[in-house]
């Protein structure tokens, strides 16, 4: 174990050093409290033998300062002093010392106290390791409960967490975000025609196709059944509509055969929106509902389409160029 000895008296310091080294410990020395504090951080020692009376930062103040160092983990401190009245011992312990040894010190007593400290540190290490392991497992569990295992994307729970955060950023910092809600067209008939296992494969393929065009900052979630929601930060109406159109196209391009679909392949309809104006004071649920309404418009327009719906209650609700029109189709009526 590495032990930091803070002692301004050269004679006592030398004696302590040799004594502790004989017990197989590595020693780091400091001649006063300020130096001890710096050496503690530098050396990473977890055990200190500290003299009470030192110039500048004395042992009591040193104990207090060590207890304020969050990044160090637990440091065990034995205060060595001639001051051994009951009041002194109480002050030493209350300032953060773990133990106390009188000067001139008794070698056997000091050794027993160092061993006791070692046991405490060992327990603390074991607890910390266990705690870190649990924390890591908790993080894994947290991730697992937010993931849809079939599509390998976020699930509804993950979406609600993510959109809540995005909405908070928008309300607080004005960082707009876009929402695209997608629904696979005629998926029930796909399942009925090709079976549920094929349906599962199709769901994975749709998710993969969409994942293939995401930016690092975009997020994709399974909202339920054959519905997916995508969150895309820093968007404006035109951008989010273009993004939704790319999603729609990516799925169509996979070419999953669906004989009961108008185009002969599996397609998706997408409803898009972005935050603006009064969204600052509304809830994220309202934004999600707007994307849902836009999706309804896309479905109503004949499916395999993208529709945008802005926040009509506030500024920024200007509809973008209709992507269907951009592809040479008649634009849908504004709803």
């Amino acid at each position: 174990m590495k032990i930091l000895i803070a002692e301004d008296d050269a004679t006592t310091r030398k004696l302590l050093r040799k004594t502790v080294e004989k017990w197989g410990h590595e020693v780091v020395e400091a001649q006063d409290g300020a130096e001890a504090l710096a050496m503690l951080v530098q050396s990473g020692a977890k055990f200190m033998i500290v003299d009470w009376n030192m110039p500048g930062v004395d042992g009591i103040e040193l104990c207090r300062r060590v207890r304020c160092l969050d990044e160090m983990g637990y440091v065990y401190i034995v205060l060595v002093t001639i001051n051994d009245s009951k009041e002194d011992v109480i002050l030493a312990l209350e300032s953060g010392a773990d133990d106390h040894v009188s000067k001139p010190f008794d070698r056997k007593e000091l050794r027993a106290r160092v061993r006791a400290g070692e046991r405490i540190l060992e327990l603390e290490r074991a607890l910390r390791a266990e705690n870190d392991g649990l924390k890591s497992k908790n993080e894994q569990l947290e991730e697992l409960v937010s993931i849809d295992p079939l599509m390998d994307i976020g699930n509804r729970r993950g979406l609600f967490k993510a959109i809540e955060k995005a909405h908070h950023r928008y309300s607080r910092y004005g960082e707009e975000y876009g929402v695209v809600m997608c629904d696979i067209d005629h998926f029930k008939t796909y399942n009925d025609s090709y079976g549920h296992l094929a349906g599962d494969r199709a769901l994975r393929a749709v998710a993969d196709a969409m994942k293939g065009i995401l930016r690092v900052s975009d997020e994709i979630f399974r909202f339920g059944g054959e519905e997916l929601v995508l969150l895309t930060p820093k968007q404006e109406p035109k951008g989010v509509t273009f993004f939704a159109e790319r999603l729609r196209n990516a799925v169509e391009q996979v070419g999953i055969a669906h004989e009961k679909s108008a185009r002969g392949v599996l397609t998706v309809s997408c409803g898009a929106t972005v935050t603006s104006g009064t969204d600052v004071s509304s809830k994220w649920e309202d934004v999600l509902q707007r994307a849902d309404r836009a999706l309804y418009l896309a479905k109503a327009s004949g499916r395999n389409a993208v529709r945008y719906r802005g926040n009509e209650a506030g500024a920024g609700g200007v509809p973008p160029t209709d992507p269907a029109a951009a592809r040479g189709k008649a634009p849908a009526a504004s709803m």
Partner: protein, 119 residues
Amino acid sequence: MRDARLQPIDLAGAMDRFDGDLPFFLEVLREFLVLSPARFRSIEEAVERGDGAQLRTITHNLRGSAGNLGADALSARVLAIENMDLGAANREAGRHLEQLRFELARIEAFVGEITGEAI
């Protein structure tokens, strides 16, 4: 055999602290003998300046190292100075420092006796 109470060093107690390592004990003791005159001068200067805090720091440290070396008589004399108010220390500084130097000389003689060397 001489009475242990008259000895300037409690060798048995010191050997226990030094884990029976006589050469190391003598090494540290010699260093202590070299450093002590300067500490005595510091005591003198602190008394002259009327610097009570400095006087307490020096005497406190000196008492600690003397105690670890088993120099109990010297340690007791240092404690007497440490417990004095500045006025008393000022009045009696000369006598006390003389006693400290006397105890230091006894320790030097003690080391000479053990090692057969003159310090």
